[in-house]
Symmetry: D3
Subunit: 320 residues, 6 copies
Amino acid sequence: MQKAKFVKDIKEGEQIRDLFLVSNKAVLSSNAGKAYISLALRDRTGQVECRVWDRAEEIAKRFDRDDIVEATGSAIQYQGRIQLKVHDVRKTEGEANLADFLPVTEKGIEPLWKELQALVRGLKDPDLSRLLARIFPDPPETETARRFRQAPGGKSMHHDYIGGLLEHTVSVAAICRFLSGHYEGVDADMLVAGALLHDIGKVGELSYDGAFDYTDEGRLLGHLYMGTEWVTAECARIDGFPREKAMLLKHMILSHHGELEYGSPKRPKTLEAVLLHFAENMDSKANAFLEAVGDMREGAAWTDYQRMFERYLYAGKKNV
Amino acid sequence: MQKAKFVKDIKEGEQIRDLFLVSNKAVLSSNAGKAYISLALRDRTGQVECRVWDRAEEIAKRFDRDDIVEATGSAIQYQGRIQLKVHDVRKTEGEANLADFLPVTEKGIEPLWKELQALVRGLKDPDLSRLLARIFPDPPETETARRFRQAPGGKSMHHDYIGGLLEHTVSVAAICRFLSGHYEGVDADMLVAGALLHDIGKVGELSYDGAFDYTDEGRLLGHLYMGTEWVTAECARIDGFPREKAMLLKHMILSHHGELEYGSPKRPKTLEAVLLHFAENMDSKANAFLEAVGDMREGAAWTDYQRMFERYLYAGKKNV
Amino acid sequence: MQKAKFVKDIKEGEQIRDLFLVSNKAVLSSNAGKAYISLALRDRTGQVECRVWDRAEEIAKRFDRDDIVEATGSAIQYQGRIQLKVHDVRKTEGEANLADFLPVTEKGIEPLWKELQALVRGLKDPDLSRLLARIFPDPPETETARRFRQAPGGKSMHHDYIGGLLEHTVSVAAICRFLSGHYEGVDADMLVAGALLHDIGKVGELSYDGAFDYTDEGRLLGHLYMGTEWVTAECARIDGFPREKAMLLKHMILSHHGELEYGSPKRPKTLEAVLLHFAENMDSKANAFLEAVGDMREGAAWTDYQRMFERYLYAGKKNV
Amino acid sequence: MQKAKFVKDIKEGEQIRDLFLVSNKAVLSSNAGKAYISLALRDRTGQVECRVWDRAEEIAKRFDRDDIVEATGSAIQYQGRIQLKVHDVRKTEGEANLADFLPVTEKGIEPLWKELQALVRGLKDPDLSRLLARIFPDPPETETARRFRQAPGGKSMHHDYIGGLLEHTVSVAAICRFLSGHYEGVDADMLVAGALLHDIGKVGELSYDGAFDYTDEGRLLGHLYMGTEWVTAECARIDGFPREKAMLLKHMILSHHGELEYGSPKRPKTLEAVLLHFAENMDSKANAFLEAVGDMREGAAWTDYQRMFERYLYAGKKNV
Amino acid sequence: MQKAKFVKDIKEGEQIRDLFLVSNKAVLSSNAGKAYISLALRDRTGQVECRVWDRAEEIAKRFDRDDIVEATGSAIQYQGRIQLKVHDVRKTEGEANLADFLPVTEKGIEPLWKELQALVRGLKDPDLSRLLARIFPDPPETETARRFRQAPGGKSMHHDYIGGLLEHTVSVAAICRFLSGHYEGVDADMLVAGALLHDIGKVGELSYDGAFDYTDEGRLLGHLYMGTEWVTAECARIDGFPREKAMLLKHMILSHHGELEYGSPKRPKTLEAVLLHFAENMDSKANAFLEAVGDMREGAAWTDYQRMFERYLYAGKKNV
Amino acid sequence: MQKAKFVKDIKEGEQIRDLFLVSNKAVLSSNAGKAYISLALRDRTGQVECRVWDRAEEIAKRFDRDDIVEATGSAIQYQGRIQLKVHDVRKTEGEANLADFLPVTEKGIEPLWKELQALVRGLKDPDLSRLLARIFPDPPETETARRFRQAPGGKSMHHDYIGGLLEHTVSVAAICRFLSGHYEGVDADMLVAGALLHDIGKVGELSYDGAFDYTDEGRLLGHLYMGTEWVTAECARIDGFPREKAMLLKHMILSHHGELEYGSPKRPKTLEAVLLHFAENMDSKANAFLEAVGDMREGAAWTDYQRMFERYLYAGKKNV
């Protein structure tokens, strides 16, 4: 079965029979003491609240959070919002296209991957070149490379969509390539290589087979540690990889949050680490700004309150 | 008289008769109760401690701090450093070339000014274009433009040399021009114009006719306020300059330190203000990093402690 | 039509036909898919939630947020609170008395204005005297003076009522007049003038024609900047206004929040600026304390949690 | 013997035989291995460095830090400052007038005491009136009252002179009396009583029989705790002193530093405690500002860096 | 009447007639304008929301918050939770067993009291021994000792149950006894005595006759101050209690929160005070961790967000 | 040659010919332009300033910082301190006993190693037991184990002596063993294993073959990262080491500084990590307290200002 109707297009009164990702599921009891299911179903265009009033206990056994399901029901309005009154839910067999159910980068995973490959090919240092080609093989035949192309850039703050990690990485690396020409005395290959690897630990920190979340290891060790350790392992697999270069690269990954209180156990102490920190921080904020503007209500000049910025943002009179 | 011998070239035992800038002057009493002058003389290559033991009271009347003087004396060693035993000091007449006595940008004021003019000419918005051409006329026939070309970028933290403000401004604006192509949705002209004007208030915040220092107004109002107020005045002199554009430009200047605790009374709330803040901060840090590396002792891998960064910085094994 | 019944006097079951200020308006859809209007209507005694169930789309076109309207309906109880079931809404013609619809200072605008005029007349310094008489003409024939008399002192924190800015200004200036006698070495006229002008920027930072809110310029530049710039402009209009006095006055306005993190780009560096900061801060807190006590439930010794103070406040056993 | 020559009047070459307070004393060894005494002698006008080169070990046994001694010697210049070459030191017998040796309030202890008594007599609440009359009897026949009149207001930050505590207390109480009329709803007697008692703990926190220092109890418990405990004890000695009033008074003392990080274990939660905190803080800062201006070098517009304010202060062009 | 059915055992549909503690009570109006009572009833196993729809005004007069009442009604489900529809409420006569209605330490008050007595008997210093025996007499015949055995350790953060203060005290003192053997140079008796007394002020800071809350004195003075003052009073009642020992003990109590911003007006400055602070802090956190794990939903590896820790806590795969 | 005379025993006038560690060396020029060597020589009892006035350039070539040298000279007094006028310096051949030249733990490396082995043998978990036995083999036949026994616990803050890391590790692990019995629900083996490994990264973070300093890797990656990565590598060498246990152990090492701002990229989220953090922090502070007391001048009750504590510490009247 193919996905046909998307969440943002559902209208009151319509009959629905379509595929969704289960992003939340709870079995509750009604006033009258009868069990019902409170569900959240989502696809890449949004999320909709649902209720299963009949045969709740039986239906609840058929599926779990993060499953792709076929749901049948009708759309009603409740307190001004669309809600689905669901009659039946069945787990789908076979592999679904995750990009139908989760938001995905608008820039396209393939074009971004090509940009990344161009950045990798631009490295002249033979050690870094070999390392990066190992980590980002083209075609992406390793598990890590495949997951890297899918991973979101974050759970909710910025680049929180499929391909977000790839998009963020390519953007930061492109800024770093510019900076390596803009300032004298920069080790260009080290800076670009550090940019390409800085968030590699997110491949293991986040789970994104269904709804985005942190893994246990992600919460206990974090992507700064995980990525740095992983680069250690990859360097060790390359004969004669110079110790000093490995140390500088690892320092960049470990320090890229810039300050201890943002989770970097060491602050940037090389020029390349300093520049990477700024490029990375700027790119996160620019992406979050553009997402906030994208979410604005029509006619507004100001966004809603943005927790990441701790302020309202001004998009100007364009919308008004 | 022309400057002949520079401070960094003075050797023990030499007889000196040359021009210097007086960067400090105090009349003290010796153990024996006799007056003497403790002087600091400088040129663009450095500073040397001096003593005037004879006729101190008479000689002291002839000159003040920030004067260019002709000093006669002999070079001795004291506690491992060169000191001048000065016999005579006379104030010079006529205009001296400040660039002989204060450090000056290595990139050259003329080439930087040409880059700035190219950035101004690249603006397509007619209002911003008119405003910037008024503020930075070519040739620089206004007092402000002339002072802007000479001003240091700071008293001691970064770009602390003649032409430093110009160098910093051009660098930030070039980064911003790159960013306006890198991200969608950026108002490119607004971003570059804001970059070109962001530190204009430093023209009045710092005095740099002799040693660098703050003006009273600089300490009481600061360059963020002074620059913003000045842009208000310039916009008012242009017929029909749109109120919204003036507001957005002023917001960028006022908010470019990024956080309240760094002296911005408002934090960046437009995309252009957010990007300017990062570009500006990065450029200050990159310049300070490169200056710290330039000051390193031979054979060292680490710089001295850097107060601006609150850490030691690593330049790598290159020097070792 | 005259305002007759006030919000705080509406009882369950009554029929209402009266004037209100629209402080919020949204068109929503009911469960059944039918449009209705969710309204908040207010007058100076409080605010009441309303619903328009019939002819919602037609009625919604007739008025907007911040309009004064005549509403017809009946009062019901919903979840323990009074709500209006509204049958009809019409926008009123002609000018309404804002003081009927927004809370207003209990001290009276006229008596406060007289106190302010007495403070202005008490200035002996001819420059400051001329400046203040220009800014606060009596009678208040300029737009600024008229707006200054109406403006609230803040959106929600303290003095958040019509005339609040005037009340706060007079109170701070009176404290400053006392302090100028209490301490030696104070420039009394400078201190009182600074007190009278310190929040003048709020005239443009806040909009208060309907519900209180910030203007775009208020959010992007802030009242500290706006007030200081405005004083620059006013001083420029007075022939020979001394540069040093203007600088000192501007410093007081710009620094009166006391610390960078509270939005002052410079901290107080003159005795008058230090004293003004304390007087201003104390008056805001004292007003907020008294408002919190005024809002207490009967029988309570402690106020609700006060966000401005980040604590509960103790009014003592008086109420108990 | 009477004090004759004061430190600020000693000139190079003079023979000295006079009384001083020993504010520092150390026995050291010269290069040649010979013992000598390094001394600091002070009177109310300042402090002078001294050396005893002959019979150092014998002379050192005769006196200690904080003694009043008669010193004989001659004044020389050393590195631009006056130093005493001391020939002999003898401890004086009998009681000396501490006010000759330590700086003392310029407002006079007696006039300040009279002001304080007037403030006490102005209290109408019989409980508070009885309490204050006990603590500040007139004439000051208790040990505490006598010490209270002498104590400095601090070790070095503000009011750091004999009578400084009294001066600060009277000034704060006078401001509080003004505020109790300025705001409605203030318990005037509670506010003034709290002001009079707020720093009473400093009587035991500081030692000031010689040079100012902290007592062990002062460092381990602090004047906020000590003063509050002491008021508990005094209230307990008054029959029927109301528990609520004692609690409110103690809260004011304990909370007058305003924030936890300034050493108040509770923040102000009553209107009187809030006002006292502001009045107290303002008075400390105003006094420190005036002392900083008093210490300025002639011709300067800016003070030296003030650690208490973490900034330079501007006294204006008056001195220039 | 004896307590029979506990909150956690109430099932939908059951008829209830049992004793409860009233932890909240409010009289509200229904949509229809009819008064009803919103109640929270609790016992040691939890709390249940209730409504009294009939004769609300009459019934409301019979009891207050913190009373033990006999309630009659029936259990229904509302939004997935059990609620009581209450028909009648009567206040009980006679003394109830508080331990039926509030959560109580699982370690038992008697065993904990025995441990505490053993710790007191272990003191060798005669002064401290006498003091502690006075404060913790066995049997607990004083009001303070009786209240100390019942008091919770906190309102909601940690040890928030009857006997919690005793449990926390005994745990901290046992750790301190271990530490006094682990480190050289520790005054073992001072450390253990300080541990036993450190939170004694909570006896008066918290009220726990019904629901836990702060007393007025607790909010205005706090348990650090109250406990220290109380030790002063107890030491004063012992002839010849050494001043130095009292000072050290008081310092430990006053400083045990470790930092000014956590409410200690002085930070720990003796070895015993430093160790007590760590032991105390560790015990609070360990208890809070264990409570959080105890509250976990079955099958979870992570706790809910813990406000005290500002993080999620990991209990591991044991539950999963 | 054997070390004979120790620094603390050198008296003025003595002739010295003995072994020292060179902790600082600089070739400078005298006033007269002649080269001389400024040296700092140390042994385990302290450090002495030295000058080599004759044949400085020749002698300077023979040795470097961190060498053990034989120095010949005579002891003089300079500004009250002993200084060596050195005539000759020669580098020694063969291996010296580092413990003669650097301060060493007073508890003895062998007894501490025995305690550590007992703690390792006490582990019951077979995986952790195997891991710890690998890392701490007995006898210490690996390079890491040998270095671990010698390493200091820090550069200057606490445990800054040979064997300090071992002493600190054993002390923390002993506290943790106690805590694992004191609290229920603790995984005792995990807690003790984490304690034994928590600072293992310091083996590579610090260099201590001569004077203590940080390695490049220590400054760029830090001991938290380095230790965690190292445990990853060791676990990987053990067949079937459970992934969950490795993760928990690594989390403890990475989080043991407790807060992001103290350099832990993740805060403690398991009970064992929470307890380890407190035990570790307490032990560092207790050691620093005892060292500060050990350094006190005779007759003092208060230590000098302690930068680690940001306060003066009170040792009591014992010394007085």
